[in-house]
């Protein structure tokens, strides 16, 4: 019934183009502009999170040294830095860039419509997100300093000011996290509704590109898991400020309740950020091996299965929190089960690559780098999901290295894969391939040099969140390894300057991309680069699934979704 409306030219509102700078860049309701806002905010926060990592790794490797650019690191500073490094990288980098920026940019383009269904809600979502970032950063400057009770914020440490010594900072932290959740709930409602209701005529469920599916499933997962933690955040704020007793055993509360609420969200959250990256990698692998995605429907059901299973594994974070050992058995089994669908996804990607005509472009290198490193992250997770071995590994550097081997591929490698792949669409120009490849290798090799040694340090018994190992004789002898990892970190952080240089240089002087530089099928490549307001000159109609590459009946090796013949 809406088709009649669809054929009206989408650039009716081009008359509005005389917008002030403020309306265009700060108060826009256009999904592409909001995506850019999310992406640049996320990247700025990534710089802050990276800087924090640099400072506490320097203290870790060279204790007591005045860190260039920061100065002396006190134990309180150290706690604040590790806490907020984790918080920023997950909530203010991975979420906004992977889910919000790519979701906003890609969903309307890939399902073939002119904008999100609720543009004003979208704008509100970004504004709340920005506010949450400001509240978080403001919390570093209040009396007592920023919150230092670890990013998981276990009470009573996080609930009682006398314990954490940052009574104001911890409240700012909880408030910022809660606001951030609200922002992504609003954004998620928009993503789900848009892809349910506003697909191009002819686009059936199995014609939706995988990356859109992944972002939608991630939004549903986020929505279903975050509620209890929003309630938990309110409880924690009340415990901190008005003396309620939710997490206080003396008043009949229970501190382990927070751990349940936190990890009931925290574990699905891993899949919330993992799924969009899996989607990005799927798009890139299909385009650069010129092959149809292996087993599209199986991938889809696998992702649904992963999503459902992800709600049943959370207590594997709490094996030493005094949960019933019989429950530990249950959660060990579910945790090991969830490695099956994820392993299957990696096999599907390898099967897609098999006998394809592979181009090792920069986005493809990032995508392959994701598969290689995430594999290590996944395999080491088996040891931690098993209650018997986790009791020994809990809170050691083994855990730390494990989740960096999952989160770094997800958040950093996945982001670089997506940004280098869609850069021509976002800005209309091509990135420099040589610089891109240098940047890839100077990120990929140092990353492995940082975290492989940390696996071994963890196996040898090194605990996390320790300010200095000078007083631990049996650990101090490994100081050389810590210094090696820190030097690798500094090299990796310095290499990011290459990306920034490439990004801005190509913005002004890169070769013009044209609408479809990679000969890709999905709808976003069938409109101009960068897409104008309203995206498509005429809104597309879809005739076929998204991955018809190298079709035997066709002369060209690609077959756009909206091409009638």
């Amino acid at each position: 019934m809406a088709h009649a409306v669809d054929h009206a030219p989408a650039h009716d509102d081009h008359g509005h183009h005389e917008q002030s700078f403020f309306m265009k860049y700060m108060w826009s309701t256009d999904h592409k502009m909001i995506a850019m806002q999310y992406m640049f905010t996320g990247m700025l926060m990534a710089m802050l999170g990276g800087f924090f990592a640099y400072v506490f790794r320097m203290q870790n490797a060279f204790p007591g040294m005045a860190v260039p650019g920061f100065g002396l690191v006190t134990p309180a500073d150290y706690n604040m830095l590790v806490t907020n490094h984790g918080t920023i990288m997950i909530f203010w980098v991975a979420m906004p860039v992977l889910v919000a920026a790519f979701g906003n940019f890609l969903i309307p383009l890939m399902v073939g419509c002119d904008d999100m269904v609720f543009p004003k809600l979208n704008r509100l979502s970004y504004q709340i997100f920005l506010l949450s970032a400001i509240v978080l950063i403001a919390g570093f400057f209040v009396p007592g300093g920023g919150f230092g009770g670890a990013w998981t914020a276990y009470p009573p440490l996080s609930a009682v000011g006398v314990y954490n010594l940052t009574p104001m900072g911890s409240s700012f932290w909880v408030l910022a996290v809660a606001l951030e959740f609200v922002a992504f709930l609003l954004g998620g409602i928009n993503f789900i509704t848009t892809s349910m209701n506003s697909r191009a005529p002819g686009m059936k469920l199995y014609d939706i590109p995988i990356v859109v599916w992944t972002i939608v499933i991630a939004s549903v997962l986020f929505m279903c898991s975050v509620g209890p933690l929003i309630a938990g955040a309110i409880m924690l704020l009340f415990d901190q400020n008005i003396g309620t007793g939710f997490f206080n055993p003396a008043m009949g509360g229970d501190p382990v309740l927070w751990q349940h609420l936190f990890w009931f969200f925290g574990h699905p959250e891993v899949y919330v950020v993992l799924l969009p990256t899996l989607g990005i990698v799927a798009e890139i692998i299909c385009v650069f091996s010129r092959k149809k995605l292996f087993a599209y429907q199986t991938v889809l059901y696998t992702m649904f299965g992963t999503g459902i299973l992800s709600f049943t594994v959370w207590a594997h974070h709490q094996f030493i929190s005094g949960i019933d050992p019989r429950m530990a058995n249950v959660f060990t089994i579910t945790t090991l089960l969830i490695s099956v669908p994820i392993a299957e996804m990696l096999f599907v990607y390898i099967a897609t690559l098999y006998k394809g005509s592979i181009t090792l472009s920069t986005p493809m290198l990032w995508a392959l780098g994701f598969i290689a490193t995430f594999l290590i992250g996944g395999v080491t997770g088996i040891y931690l999901g098993t209650a018997g071995s986790d009791i020994y590994f809990h809170d050691t550097y083994f855990v730390l290295a494990h989740f960096h081997y999952t989160f770094f591929p997800i958040a950093i490698i996945g982001t670089y894969a997506g940004v280098t792949y869609w850069y021509p669409k976002m800005f209309g120009r091509m990135l420099d391939e040589t610089l891109g490849k240098i940047h890839f290798w100077l990120t990929f090799i140092p990353f492995n040099c940082i975290f492989i040694p940390l696996f071994f340090l963890g196996l040898w018994g090194e605990h996390r969140r320790i300010y200095s190992y000078e007083l631990f004789d049996e650990l101090w002898k490994y100081q050389g390894i810590r210094q090696f990892a820190t030097v690798a970190l500094v090299v990796m952080l310095a290499a990011q300057a290459i990306f920034i240089w490439n990004f801005f240089k190509s913005l002004w002087s890169g070769p013009i991309a044209g609408p479809n530089p990679y000969n890709a099928n999905t709808l976003e490549w069938q409109c101009p680069s960068p897409p104008p307001h309203g995206n498509f000159a005429e809104l597309p109609t879809v005739y076929r699934p998204p991955y018809e590459y190298s079709h035997p009946d066709r002369k060209e090796d690609f077959w756009p979704q909206n091409s009638p013949v």
Partner: protein
């Protein structure tokens, strides 16, 4: 200017209604987390029944009645909006809002009695849950009243009549949360 995306309905539901349902989905898990925490505490503390004995069933029952009646007017407003009678729909929405207001007044009186009897939010974990759960619910009542006031003012001019249904769906949800809170906080002693 509404994007074309908003006017499409591939899933067969109007976009606004679909959005409200997803909003409710996110709200259900917020209250779900809170109520599950409450039930788990309740099961592991015998002395909670002694604390819960201080709540007043009759006031709770009156409030349940008030809220359910207001929901009835929301349904009647939807029926009027479907017939295209914006003025009547608006008037019935105002009745619903009045019901919400009465609910909040009774709630305020009830809390005043309890607080003056020394049962405050920091008395014990039962009272922490009692005030927090009912307080979060009350904030949803206020949000629903504001939303309905906006919708009613438009509906009186005959504009956006389809929004009456969406406001009603939200109000029923607020009602439903209370239907869970009432037995948990008042009856299960």
């Amino acid at each position: 200017m509404t994007p074309i995306a908003t006017t499409r309905s591939t899933a067969g539901l109007p976009t606004g209604t679909l959005g409200v349902w997803w909003l409710l989905g996110s709200e259900i898990v917020i209250f779900g987390g809170l109520l599950c925490s409450y039930i788990m505490h309740r099961l592991s503390h015998d002395w909670w029944s002694a604390e819960a004995a201080h709540t007043n069933v009759y006031i709770g029952l009156t409030n349940t009645f008030v809220l359910l009646t207001s929901s009835l007017f929301a349904v009647l407003a939807h029926a009027a909006a479907q017939r295209g009678d914006g003025k009547l729909a608006a008037r019935r929405l105002w009745y619903t809002i009045a019901g919400g207001g009465m609910f909040l007044c009774i709630k305020a009186a009830e809390w005043t009695i309890e607080i003056s009897n020394g049962m405050t939010i920091s008395s014990s974990s039962f009272w922490s849950f009692y005030y927090t759960a009912a307080g979060i619910h009350a904030s949803h009542v206020i949000a629903g009243m504001i939303a309905m006031a906006v919708v009613a003012m438009d509906a009186a001019k005959g504009k956006f009549l389809h929004r009456v249904e969406n406001a009603g769906i939200y109000w029923h949800f607020v009602d439903l949360v209370w239907i869970f809170l009432f037995p948990l906080l008042y009856i299960a002693k």
